[in-house]
Structures are given as C-alpha cells and as structure tokens.
Symmetry: C2
Subunit: 333 residues, 2 copies
C-alpha cells in the first residue's frame, strides 16, 4: 500500500479541489493519504464526503506558502507550512511520495533542501509530460535550473529516459537535445558540448532536434536547460489558448458554422484534450532522493486525482531506485 | 522608383517561383528588379512571361550557395554566387534593397561581411514578423546570434520598435523581453541585466513577458537571444503542423464530420492563413547598413511577391535611416 503525502493547501483551488481529488483517489486505489494543512479547513472539506477513514488522515500545518512567495525564503522561514511539513514527512519516511499543486519554485527548492538530492545528482529537474501528435514526451528541465552545464543535462537525459521507460512503458526511449539545427556544430557552446557528451552515454540518443519536431513527437525525452524548457512549456500553453479561441470564432460565425460545430463537437473536444498538457498529470521533480510530484497550480479534483495516480506509479515502478543505480553507473564512466 | 536586387537562385523553388513572384511584383509596383543568378536558367524562366523589359533585368552569377553550405566559408569562397553578387551590388549601391530566399546563415553572414553593419550596431538580428491572435509581432533575434549580451538585446529592442512603427504602423509599440516570469529577479543573469537596461531606454518597454503571452499578442516587439528566438519560431511552426493535422483527422472521421467540414471550410482556411508565419512576408535582417530581407526558404511565387513588397516598404519608410539615428542617440546615453 503506497503512502501518499499531500500538500492540501497548495494550488489555486486548495483545499477544496485537492481534498475532493484525494477522496476519489483513495476510493479507486489501494493507498493511504495524509492531507497536510490547516486542520479546520481541510476537515471541513473532508467532512463533505463519505470515505474510508483508514485511508485518509489529516496532519495539521499552520502556515501556507503562497504562489507569490519567494521560494528560498519561503522554505527557510515557513517551516510550519503545509508544503514544508509534507516534504519533511517524506524526508522522514512517513510516506512514500509527496504531491503538491503549490508554489513550483518552493517545491523544487524544498525537494533539494528538505528531501535532498540523490547521491551524485547535480541538480533536480522539473519534468512535465507534454502532449505530441504521436503520444507524449517528457520535457526536462522545464524551469528548475535557468543556467545549466552539460553535466546537468546529461543527468536529465538519463533520468528522463528512465521515467519514460518505467512509468510510460516506452521501450528504448528516444532522447533528443533541443538545438537550433541538427548539425554537430550548431547552437551555443553548451549545446555543442552536451551533444558530444550525450553520444557517449548508453542511451538511445538521437542527436540534436529542432523545436519544430517537438510537438510532432520527434523525441520521447526532450532535454534542454530550464530557461528554454520553460519557454517551450509556456509557449505551448499559449498556442493552445490561441488555437481554441480562433477555432471557436470560426464555429460561432453564423448559423451554418454553429450547425457544423454540433457535428464535430466530440472530435474537437478530444483534440483539445489531447493537446492540453494539464491532462497529463503532474510533473515529477526528478533527481530528488524520494519521489515528489508537482501537480498543476490550477488543478481541479480530476487533475489532482491524476497526479496522485502518477505518484503511485512512480513508487510502484521503482523509478527513484532505477535513477539512483544509473546515476552511479554513469558517474563511474 | 525602388531598385530591388533579387537572389534568383536562393530557396527551395528557385529560380522558378522566385522569377514568377518578381514578374508579378514588377507588374504591381513602381520598381526595378535585378535578378541575380545563372543567366540561362533565369532567362528561361523569365521568357515564360510577358513583362515590362525596363523593369526586370538579369545579372549573371556563376555559383549557387546551397542550403547546407556552411555560411562563413560559403561567403568567403563563393564570391561569384548569386547571394554574394546580390549583396555586393547592394553594398555598391547598385540597388536599394536585397531579397533572398537562400541559405539563412549565409545571408546573415553576408549582411555583416559584405553589406556591413550600421555604425554602432553590435550585431545584426534576424527579425521575422510572426502571427498572434491580435495581429502580428516582430521576433528578434530569431537565430542570427545564439549567444547574446544585454548590449545586443538593447539594440534589438530599438530596431524592432522602429520597424513596427515605420513599416507596420503600430503607434508606440510595446516591447517585451522573453523571460520565465514577470518579476525582476527572474531568469538568467542576462535576462535580469537586460530587463534593468531596457527600463532606462526611451521605449514603450512593458517588462518581462512569459512565453504563453507571445501568441496571445502580449507584445509588439518580442526580444530574446537568437537561441530562444529560433526555438520559438520553429516551435510555432511545428505546433501549426500538428494542429492542422489533428483538425483534419477530426473532419475526416466520418460522413457527418466531412459535411461539417464543408460548412466551415473558408473559416478554417482563413484561420490557417492567420497563424501561418510564412504569410507574413520575409524577415528583415536588421542592423545592416542597407536593407536585406530573408524570404522563407520554401517561398512560392506569392510568398516571394510579398517579400518584395515588404522590401519596398522598408525602403520607402526609411527604416534604415531611422535605426541609424536611434542607435546613435542611444549610444550617446
């Protein structure tokens, strides 16, 4: 039975949607959930539902880290926040995995300072699953490290590859390095060096990939520095918003187009779902010594349910142990 | 009468589509076009059309720079290529503006080495116009300089602002710096420094913008290093391809959806056109001492026609002189 520690106060719709998502997850999976947060508020939400009392409990935490709090000072100064208490419980092995929809920077900082990195891991990476026309890919780093070295990027490639293999069941995942051309001499000094280094690793490294190939499923593991990754993540989000707005305008134009909309409603809905990265659960913070999942800040109950499900898979498939073994192996080389 | 020098051998469909686009442009505008390239091939194309012989002439150039040629060595070693001859003619003032759909890197290198930069300009920038849901924005740098300093980025902001004002008639263009958050302390050391520097300039600088705001028209002038800009340009292209493929699948699903497609055909077509950046003419190479336009490599006659039209506007609106004045003004500060 996997023990999931949840930051019940993190996210735009906390604790309401977080608690609801957890009740649903506890109903469907063989798990035990600890909701960490302001007890009165969490209890008030929890009391709305029928649930197995053995599967959900509350641990009180006074403070809350807000979305605008500066990450490092929040982790240092708000020791009694739901996010810090949840991560501390994970560090003390009072649970197997921690999930939070709260402040991304604080969760990444906390994963490093409270949970700590795996031995040999230089930096943790924020690694969201993203949609492509041929399935899903993992993007890392999506913003944990704005400045990277090739040593960081090499480890991101290894960690992402393991995640896609173990959790997403992709055999021999194709690893690509984001660059502005496919040739070896292309890009920044960092890109040229990293491309050369990645070739030496025992990975299915397919070389530099240009950004136009990313949404077309050009690689299963997309490696880049956190600045570039964050730009890709947010640009995709913005493009999605624009496409659907424009598509809506096409269908709302006149009575004929409105009729057409009825005929393809379900198809358009499923297209939207396919390209919406919030549908793909949360983003693991890879490289931490224990599993930490960042759920989307705007998670509703369903999205948080999926993040909890993903957390369970991360634990059951032994991703952290696998990363540990491989980082050690590659360090020896 | 604007004198346009055209690299007739550059681009995927050269000289066929290039010549056709030029014939159409010569018909519609009060211009004189010089087609530079292998005379027999260019003449064979030209002979297919009726045109005013006073408005189009051919200048022979033996060699051709291919799409895969390494830019610097191509410029150094293929002096008799259509691209080099065209740029040399511009440098010698045998024309007012040069347009090429050829090798992007070679054109940028040639703009620097043959045409030369404006006095005070540190680097030229590739500056494509890109579509957003509320119009168009200029993105610079889109790939001329993979590594940048804040001094380069400041000049890109000034040049992009002038282009949007003079050519696109945007009053007081909003300039934004691509970053991973809006706060001042966000991003790389370069982003933090550039954000502080841009505030000091006499521009309508709106601060850091996140990538999700870019396709939503968050700024008229989007400033970033050439690595990030190239990723944005190509990612947008890839997203477009994926989106239309998926939309097609929705409409081709069954007889009902095919019927629906008929009802919204024109709307979808215009949506596609709005979001297709190749519809927006070419990309000026800003910072060169004379106007140079990079047309899309896959330009057909229509796209090249638009690039020529853009070239004429660049000349008629005195963009280069305006940039010259402003770079000097800002250098004094």
């Amino acid at each position: 039975m996997v023990k999931v520690i949840v930051d019940a106060m993190g996210g735009d719709y906390a604790p309401l949607e977080i608690v609801k998502g957890c009740v649903d997850a506890a109903c469907d999976f063989d798990i035990e959930i600890t909701l960490v947060g302001q007890e009165d508020k969490v209890k008030a939400e929890l009391d709305k539902y029928q649930y197995d009392k053995n599967k959900i409990k509350i641990v009180h935490a006074d403070e809350v880290i807000g979305g605008c709090d500066e990450p490092t000072s929040a982790i240092r100064n708000k020791k009694n926040s739901s996010l810090c208490v949840a991560l501390s419980m994970l560090a003390e092995e009072k649970g197997d995995v921690c999930v939070s929809a709260g402040n991304t920077g604080a969760l990444i900082t906390g994963a490093t300072l409270i949970v700590k990195r795996l031995k040999g891991v230089r930096r943790v990476a924020l690694a969201p699953l993203m949609p492509s026309s041929s399935g899903a890919f993992i993007l890392l780093d999506a913003g944990a490290n704005v400045e990277c070295t090739s040593a960081f990027l090499k480890q991101f490639a290894v960690m992402g590859s393991i995640y896609m293999e173990k959790v997403m069941n992709v055999t021999n995942p194709r690893v690509g390095l984001v660059n502005i051309g496919e040739e070896e001499n292309k890009g920044t000094a960092l890109a040229v060096e990293t491309n050369a280094e990645l070739k030496k690793l025992d990975l299915n490294y397919i070389g530099n990939i240009e950004a136009r190939e990313i949404p077309q499923g050009g690689a299963d593991v997309v490696v880049c520095d956190g600045f570039t990754g964050n730009v890709i993540l947010k640009f995709m989000e913005g493009m999605g918003v624009v496409f659907y707005k424009m598509l809506k305008d096409v269908f709302y134009k006149n009575i004929i187009s409105k009729l057409a909309a009825l005929f393809v409603k379900s198809g358009i809905k499923s297209l939207k779902k396919t390209m919406d990265y919030t549908e793909y659960g949360g983003a693991p913070i890879l490289g931490a010594s224990k599993p930490v999942i960042k759920a989307h800040g705007n998670s509703n109950a369903k999205a948080f349910y999926h993040a909890v499900k993903q957390a369970v898979m991360l634990v059951e498939n032994g991703v952290i142990d696998e990363i540990k073994k491989n980082i050690e192996k590659f360090e020896v080389k």
